[in-house]
Symmetry: C2
Subunit: 229 residues, 2 copies
DNA sequence: TAGTTTCCTGAACCGCCGTTCAGCAAACCG
DNA sequence: CGGTTTGCTGAACGGCGGTTCAGGAAACTA
């Protein structure tokens, strides 16, 4: 209806991704995917040999897509490494509906990879890229004298762990870990690790009503004095 | 066979827990649970109204059991707050086969609670208790002058997030996050937060062969000088 | 002993869902 | 124009799995 020009195969794939995020890999029914895509269940099997093949392709498609989105979102208007890092953090928390769905797929990956040996290289690769993304940025910031000296590898691991840890509490709706608190927790830790200041840009409005809001809490600002060695 | 005296209902429950950890909640088949418990599928429905009821009771049972195990394991031989804290961390990482299964159930909880509203209060309660457990211990350590002054609430959140973040990478078999590295990452961060030293007790043997080993990496030792205000 | 409750089973029922298949219409090709 | 390929469908098949049911054996009661 919305884009009738888009080929059916892609519509099926997109519908599969959406369904996987909402119902989980084993909860997904191809009849429903077909319905969402506006086609018959038989057509799904015309384009994809088996259910498993469809889900695999859908996962691969969505993770690559999510990664692109994450990466591109950070590198737009980067006037400093601190700002870019902040954008990266923002893109790794469930700060928007799309990122919320990405998070659901991330949990899905954990769930599957914890049991299925075959998915582990795939998951490891994703983490490896994420880690390199952060470590490189941190190393660049340290080299520029903007961040305090540190081991970018270890700091990268800690940041990733922190993001996963607060992010998962956020998406399971833990009232003790609102999106605002998640953001603040990560920012405070990162600022502390890298010797940055945390400035209250806009006062964090208390209870945080909905997910879709993009409220500002505290911002990372580069240290005014660059120190080396 | 092993304990023929144990009533069937409990055997079913225990089998369900094991199956859930290994196959996930929606992957679990009651025919297989019945087989594991050495009973007929019909008996499962004699004791539990429906599949959903069985799974719910099994989850509740196992989480409470896991919590007891975690708590009791820490408070045995506590000569200092640092030692007790270290034991707590150890009990929150997949350091043993049982804890590995607990972790699988923990991921299962994330997976379910991210989609099912009804499970969220339950998950929130578990996190709340975990958080209080750590925050109280930290506060006690600070009060005793053993830990550096800090906000136990925030440090507790950061520790929990770190544990979840490195733990999940460990159980999905990320080669970049072995159990040893997970432990070391958490210990380093905690030691740094609380002003403790990290001593290499036994050299971390390089590649870490199997999960079932209980190798010592680095240990938290209390600061020799107590500082106040 | 007779009656009742408690555990437990084999067998069948039934709905869901992945998959297959025969066929149809449009586009494409010569 | 006839023939073939491509995209798609409705209908049916097959099995897996949760659930039900009629009954049976043992324990418990009086």
């Amino acid at each position: 209806m919305s884009q009738p020009a888009r080929p059916a195969r892609e519509r099926i794939l997109a519908a599969a991704v959406r369904r996987i995020a909402r119902e989980g890999m084993e909860g997904v029914r191809i009849a429903r995917i077909a319905m969402d895509a506006g086609v018959s269940p038989a057509l799904v099997h015309y384009h994809f040999a088996t259910r498993e093949a469809l889900l695999a392709e859908a996962l691969d498609y969505s993770y690559n897509y999510a990664e692109e989105r994450r990466i591109s979102s950070g590198s737009e208007i980067a006037t400093s490494h601190a700002e870019r890092l902040e954008a990266m953090l923002e893109g790794c928390l469930p700060t928007s509906p799309e990122l919320h769905d990405d998070w659901l797929l991330w949990v899905e990956l954990w769930h599957q990879a914890a049991r299925n040996e075959q998915l582990r290289p795939f998951a490891g690769e994703l983490y490896s890229r994420l880690h390199a993304w952060f470590a490189d940025e941190i190393a660049a910031g340290v080299a520029a004298g903007e961040f305090a000296r540190c081991d970018p590898d270890e700091v990268g691991d800690r940041i990733l762990a922190l993001l996963d840890g607060v992010g998962v509490r956020t998406i399971i709706g833990d009232p003790q870990m609102s999106l605002a608190r998640a953001r603040q927790t990560v920012r405070a830790a990162v600022a502390h690790e890298l010797g940055l200041s945390v400035s209250p840009a806009g006062l964090a409005e208390a209870p945080e009503p909905v997910l879709h809001r993009q409220e500002v809490g505290m911002r990372l600002i580069p240290r005014s004095t660059a120190q080396r060695s």
